[in-house]
């Protein structure tokens, strides 16, 4: 059995606590081990059972999400989700958070977040074809915000640009609830031959376990446990766990792995993410139902005198673990040496069902695999439903500013302003397949060498989730589906990134439960299953939790790139048609929050049947070539969507006539209400479009015409595009250069 190592702290209750394990968990460890664990073993338990790796608080609820469908090749449980995109290809994608590291060291934290999610995708045999990033920062006037925005954006760009994967989409929001806990959620989409997907499960006694990539250093030891611990003032002390990314090595790793994957040498492969060598070797062995023996002295190390504990818990980046077919070692070594990457056989599979760790021939750790994996704690944490808020009666309030002024201001708010400053720091065109660049509803990336494409977007409206978690969860899924639909794509599946506060607080757990319920309903109603995801809890500082933020990353398929739509007005003198019903729902709207400064109220209801009916209709019209531009309505409602289409196309619009006919709801609610399931389209053939809508029982009405240099919202209510653009494009650069 494994003895304690000389001059290594022995396992005291204090040490146990420092490893983030409570007493019950430690008792469980004693049962499983049938003896006291040594420090190495304790460390392994602590990372394997950390919230980050074990999902102990969220598992129960995640299981309720729909994950199946004819398009799903592999749902949650692997490194990333896999869906069938036809013609023998699969799309592989996932979103993952790097929130805490990015708050502590924005550049490296965000950069390594991108690196990690890229590995999750190419581990499965896919060439990454696009990255997205969903960012949430604190209030713009918080002293840290500017520095965090600059660092995070530079880090995402620094890594993604270097590896040569285009960053094509994402979102950026600001809210004071993120002051102490920013959110950096990175998503990667890759494409692989559907019959050559690689999994982590590895079986076969004696098969070699191989380490490739960068050397192991003392990086991020306990990063995984840190990522699951609530922040407090002394978080600064946790700083040394931040790691530095090496995108160049990542690029070599991508090429080398894909080259090796073209052969039949690999049995199983797994990236070393959080909890590095520990979780990767555990995953492979437990999924394969086998045991594993590692000789730690063979692990390529960056520093001298590294202990087994450090090697097993290190989170050094750009490393992978593989199990090879016996006899293929030299073939594999040849490929990795060609790419100047480390390659080492560090152990082999056994049938013992145990993980045996040796150093200089001596056993330094010995743990049972299945018990540890199965016994990994699962909590049914107490939760409290979020009390519902009141609706806002559109007729019942008097606006404080004229609509034109309100629109001008809204377009220049931190949440609605153009994010060009961000995405122009990302290479969004490398690989020469970016058909729709950042700035529209969804990015469109061509499937290389074909006339088909993938559409992708990330969405969440945290203020809705705070006000009504179930509605908010459903709305996030619906908006994602709508964004893909608006470019003409068939939405196929989603990945999610659940960012919440401390789950040990019932009201926070209630938010989580509510959001999941809403997501579940929407994913089912829209045949839009969840194939991968990630959970980030404890996003709070000194009891101040973030807004519940379940980010949805959606992927859709475009069968014909000649049948897509963009959000930009295509030409003057086209008819603008509003699809969907406008009740003027002002509750939880940006208009109320940013213009009227009103307190929280109920978010818009989400009627999923209507969502689907309207979306299917719009997509059909796009495919029929009947619309010249399309944009979904979301934050800021009708007026903002109209303004975005006008600015994108450099062409104005006049909706005065339609506005004049509006009496219920009153004009401001009609212009700025955030009723769901709506789209704006332009067309040259309005009558045919309206007729088709009538047949499909889809509400549609003519709003006005495109043209001119300004937006005419109502008689005598015109705003020049130049003025709108100045505010819309100006806010973020102005803020960052201040």
């Amino acid at each position: 059995m494994a003895k304690e190592r000389p001059n290594e702290p022995s396992v005291t209750p204090k040490v146990v606590r420092e490893h983030g394990l409570n007493e019950q968990e430690y008792d469980l460890i004693l049962d499983i081990m049938r003896r006291a664990p040594n420090l190495l073993e304790l460390g392994i338990f602590s990372v394997m059972w950390s919230e980050h790796c074990s999902y102990k608080s969220s598992k129960k609820w995640l299981k309720t999400l729909p994950t199946k469908g004819p398009q799903v090749i592999k749902g949650p449980g692997e490194n990333a989700g896999v869906i069938d995109i036809g013609e023998g290809l699969a799309a592989i994608f996932k979103m993952e958070s790097h929130n805490h590291p990015s708050f502590i060291e924005p550049y490296q934290g965000a950069a390594t977040g991108v690196g990690g999610i890229l590995r999750d995708v190419f581990t499965m045999g896919a060439r990454p074809v696009a990255n997205l990033n969903a960012l949430r920062f604190g209030s713009p006037d918080h002293p840290k915000t500017r520095h965090l925005v600059a660092g995070v954006v530079a880090g995402i760009g620094g890594y993604g640009n270097c590896v040569g994967v285009p960053t094509v989409g994402g979102e950026v929001n600001f809210d004071s609830s993120y002051n102490g806990n920013i959110l950096v959620n990175a998503m990667t989409v890759g494409i692989a031959p559907a019959d050559r997907i690689f999994y982590s499960a590895a079986a076969g006694v004696g098969k070699p376990v191989v380490y490739v990539g960068s050397k192991t250093g003392r990086d991020g030891i306990h990063g995984a446990t840190m990522a699951s611990a609530e922040f407090d003032e002394d978080s600064d002390e946790k700083r040394p766990t931040v790691q530095v990314g090496d995108p160049f090595t990542e690029k070599l790793l991508i090429e080398a792995c894909l080259e090796l994957m073209a052969t039949d040498a690999i049995v199983g492969i797994q990236d070393m993410g959080a909890a590095g060598l520990t979780s990767s070797s555990f995953e492979m062995a437990s999924k394969g139902g086998s045991g594993v023996e590692l000789e730690l002295d063979k692990v390529p190390c960056r520093e001298d005198g590294m202990t087994p504990y450090e090697m097993m818990l290190s989170e050094s980046q750009e490393r992978m673990l593989m199990v090879l077919q016996p006899g293929k070692e030299d073939l594999a070594r040849g490929i990795f040496e060609k790419w100047d990457l480390d390659f080492a056989v560090i152990g082999h599979l056994t049938d013992s069902g145990r993980m045996v760790l040796k150093m200089h021939g001596e056993v330094v750790g010995d743990l049972p695999i299945d018990p540890l994996a199965e016994a990994s704690p699962e909590y049914d944490r107490p939760w409290q439903p979020t009390p519902p808020l009141d609706d806002v009666d559109p007729a019942g309030f008097t606006p404080s500013v004229a609509p034109a002024e309100a629109l001008k201001r809204l377009m220049a708010t931190p949440d609605l302003c153009s994010k060009r400053w961000v995405w122009e720091q990302y290479d969004h065109m490398v690989m020469a397949d970016t058909v729709a660049r950042p700035g529209g509803d969804a990015a469109v990336v061509r499937i290389h060498g074909s006339n088909r494409g993938l559409a992708m977007a990330s969405d969440c409206t945290p203020r809705y989730c705070k006000a009504d978690p179930a509605r908010g969860g459903a709305q996030a899924v619906a908006e994602s589906w709508r964004n893909l639909t608006a470019v003409g794509a068939r939405p196929l599946a989603v990945t999610d990134n659940m960012n919440f506060g401390n789950p040990e607080r019932p009201e926070i757990m209630g938010q989580f439960v509510g959001c999941i319920a809403g997501m579940k309903a929407a994913c089912e109603a829209l045949d839009y299953p969840v194939v991968s995801g990630n959970v980030s809890l404890y996003n709070e500082t000194n009891g101040q939790a973030i807004l519940p933020t379940p980010v949805i990353g959606g992927v859709g398929l475009i069968d014909d790139l000649d049948r897509i739509a963009g959000a930009a007005f295509a030409a003057a003198d086209e008819t603008i048609v509003l699809i969907g019903e406008t009740k003027g729902h002002l509750g939880a709207s940006l208009y109320l929050r940013d213009i009227e400064g009103a307190s929280e109220s109920a978010p818009p209801p989400v009627d999923l049947a209507v969502e689907r009916r309207n979306g299917d209709f719009v997509r059909g019209r796009i495919h029929a070539g009947a619309v010249t531009a399309c944009h979904d309505l979301s934050d800021g409602g009708l007026a903002v969507a109209l303004a975005e289409m006008a600015l994108a196309g450099g062409c104005g619009a006049d909706i005065a006539e339609a506005a004049a006919a509006v009496d219920n709801p009153p004009l401001p609610a009609w212009l700025f209400g955030e009723d769901q399931a709506r789209y704006l389209v332009t067309t040259k053939t309005a009558d045919a479009l309206l007729a088709a809508a009538g047949e499909a029982a889809v509400p549609a009405r003519v709003l006005g015409r495109t043209g001119g240099e300004s937006l005419i919202l109502a008689a005598g209510m015109a705003i020049s595009l130049a003025e709108l653009r100045a505010g819309h494009e100006g806010w973020l650069p102005g803020y960052m250069d201040r």
Partner: protein, 80 residues
Amino acid sequence: MKARVHVTLKNGVLDPQGKAIEHALVSLGFDGIDDVRQGKVIEFSLTESDPAKARANVEAMCEKLLANTVIENYAIELDA
């Protein structure tokens, strides 16, 4: 007076630049080199003439901007 700030990566922090430089030097046939690390030097002139005040000032600059103390150390040189 003149200030010179040396910013170097903390021990144990990965230095991809240094690693790449080492690799390049070796492949250029320079052998017998090891532990290549890359750092920064920031030089500037100060009107402040009191050495103590100047040092305090420059330290503040390092903490606030010049060094990323999460992963970097800094050293200050002053000469009148």
